[in-house]
């Protein structure tokens, strides 16, 4: 993975101990706030370190660069990096970041989203401090509403946990820290794909940290993650396909590792001194739309499903599809096996991979509808426990995957 970058480095920073990076694309309205908060965090908690804030941008045309340089950083220097015009994707921004981190010989790197509205200076402390105490990778731990982060809850968390044996609750959280030395490993990895260059980057980095046995901790952020809303009608297809496609790609490339993993282990937790936990804002999912999406998928994709799923799994799916909405239930064991079946079909290329991923989306809608129904009366904590139990089902079902996985 090589690409050119455009750089503005007005303070001529050549070395840094700690980097805070914000990947961005058209964030002129919002980037100023997280930059200011990050600068406060650096000044307050890391006054002895050489620090720099980097905007890793997709050459935005809305004034993101000017907003970045216009924010008050209380003297913390800044660097602006941009992909070539027309090159988009969060992962492509990270590619520039990895190279710059090596150039700067940085010991620690913190990444936060450029559209964050709930970031505090303590987030920088909690994501960076473990990196100076032997941890190689720091994932965020937020309190999220039970119906927020449905791709994480239904796919990314249970799969990464069952596959790689490390319990990282937000493997695609977007805000994290990593040791500077990992930048070289990221750059050298042969597993880079187009999807990693876009939304697949978060789960890619988390997975590489796991399979390279980096000491991982989860940093408790104390506040919910609040950022720019995607809009009720936002198309989830690119996000879903790139995240799940990246998970499936990494499964192909790291089968020797995950086949040997049995059960899972927790990680260290960092940062409990933030006072009272704030409750996350409620998230209302459109249940009718989820069920309709599932049922429509049956009409459009059933031929693909029949090619991917063994007959007994297909029969179970047909039974689920026949349930009326008030009795709808997508059992976790069926869902876990189904994801494993799709991963196997992806590895074997039984169906063109983009078609395969597209056909999985309606099933994810069905699973999410079932989850919303089951957790409707649960507290956030009870829903968390429910998800933990689902993860155990994924771990218990893993021998099914190992048995089906192509030799």
């Amino acid at each position: 993975m090589t690409q050119d970058w455009y750089e503005e480095n007005p303070q001529r920073v050549t070395e840094a101990d700690l980097v805070v990076a914000l990947p961005s694309f058209r964030e002129a309205k919002l980037i100023g706030y997280p930059v200011t908060q990050a600068a406060r965090g650096l000044r307050r908690y890391f006054p002895e370190q050489r620090t720099v804030i980097i905007d890793c941008d997709n050459a935005s045309d809305d004034g993101t660069k000017e907003a970045f340089f216009g924010a008050d950083t209380e003297g913390v220097p800044r660097i602006y990096l941009a992909t070539p015009p027309g090159v988009r994707g969060k992962g492509n921004n990270f590619q520039n970041l990895f190279r710059k981190v090596l150039e700067l010989k940085a010991k620690a790197v913190v990444v936060v989203d450029a559209d964050l509205k709930s970031i505090t200076p303590q987030w920088i402390k909690h994501l960076a401090e473990p990196l100076f105490s032997d941890f190689g990778y720091v994932a965020p731990l937020y309190v999220r509403h039970k119906h927020d982060g449905t791709i994480t809850n239904a796919v990314a968390y249970p799969l990464t946990r069952a596959l790689y044996g490390r319990r990282v609750r937000q493997p695609i959280g977007g805000d994290f820290g990593f040791a500077g030395s990992l930048a070289q490993a990221f750059l050298a990895s042969p597993t880079w794909t187009r999807a990693v260059g876009e939304f697949g980057i978060d789960v890619w980095m988390t997975t590489l940290a796991m399979v390279s046995n980096q000491p991982i901790c989860q940093a408790y952020m104390g506040r919910p993650k609040i950022h720019k809303a995607k809009g009720a009608g936002a198309d989830i297809t690119p996000l879903f396909s790139q995240v799940v496609g990246t998970i499936f790609d990494l499964m192909r490339q790291s089968a020797d590792y995950w086949r040997r993993v049995k059960w899972s282990k927790p990680t260290s937790i960092y940062g409990f001194s933030l006072g009272e936990t704030e409750l996350p804002p409620p998230v209302k999912l459109n249940e009718d739309q989820l069920l309709a999406g599932f049922r429509l998928g049956g009409e459009v994709h059933s031929a693909t499903w029949r090619r991917v799923l063994p007959p007994d799994q297909m029969n179970k799916l047909l039974e689920i599809a026949a349930l009326p909405s008030e009795e709808f239930d997508f059992p976790t064991q069926v869902w876990a096996k189904l994801l494993y079946d799709f991963a196997v079909a992806y590895a074997r290329e039984e169906v063109p991979r983009p078609d395969l991923l597209n056909s999985l989306i309606p099933l994810y809608y069905g699973k999410t509808f079932s989850f919303v129904r089951k957790t409707a009366k649960m507290s956030v904590q009870q829903a968390e426990e429910f998800i933990e139990n689902e993860c155990m089902v994924f771990e218990e079902t893993k021998p099914y995957l190992i048995e089906r996985w192509p030799a």
Partner: protein, 122 residues
């Protein structure tokens, strides 16, 4: 034979668990508080720690943090009479938790899982 460290301030629990787990073929050692726990772990090198959450002088969740900070991969099973502890996110640093019971079937199952847990390169 795997070594289990039971940390609980209730004598009858320590006795019951010791008896039952010894019968299962484990070597069992006990501690009646969190005092000097890290030193005890360093000296005895247990394979699994069973940790009571509510002890008179110690909070098991704080002890869990101390253990996890020093022994990244040491399996810890939280044991409690109340499940309200789950509201504290510190509890997720444990491998498992069980509700205290005179029936030790669940605890024995979790110990077995903790001992079976395997990650390559470790």
């Amino acid at each position: 034979m795997p070594k289990i460290l039971i940390v609980d301030d209730e004598e009858h629990i320590r006795f019951l668990y010791s008896e039952e787990l010894t019968d299962e073929g484990y070597e069992v050692i006990t501690a009646d508080s969190g005092l000097g726990l890290l030193e005890r772990i360093a000296a005895e090198k247990p394979d699994v720690v069973i940790l009571d959450i509510k002890m008179v002088d110690y909070n098991g969740l704080d002890l869990l943090q101390d253990i996890r900070n020093k022994y990244y991969d040491l399996p810890v099973i939280l044991c409690t009479a109340y499940d309200t502890f789950k509201e504290d996110m510190k509890s997720i640093a444990a491998n498992f938790y069980v509700i205290k019971s005179f029936d030790l079937t669940e605890l024995k199952g979790k110990i077995k899982m903790a001992l079976e847990t395997r990650l390559p390169g470790q």
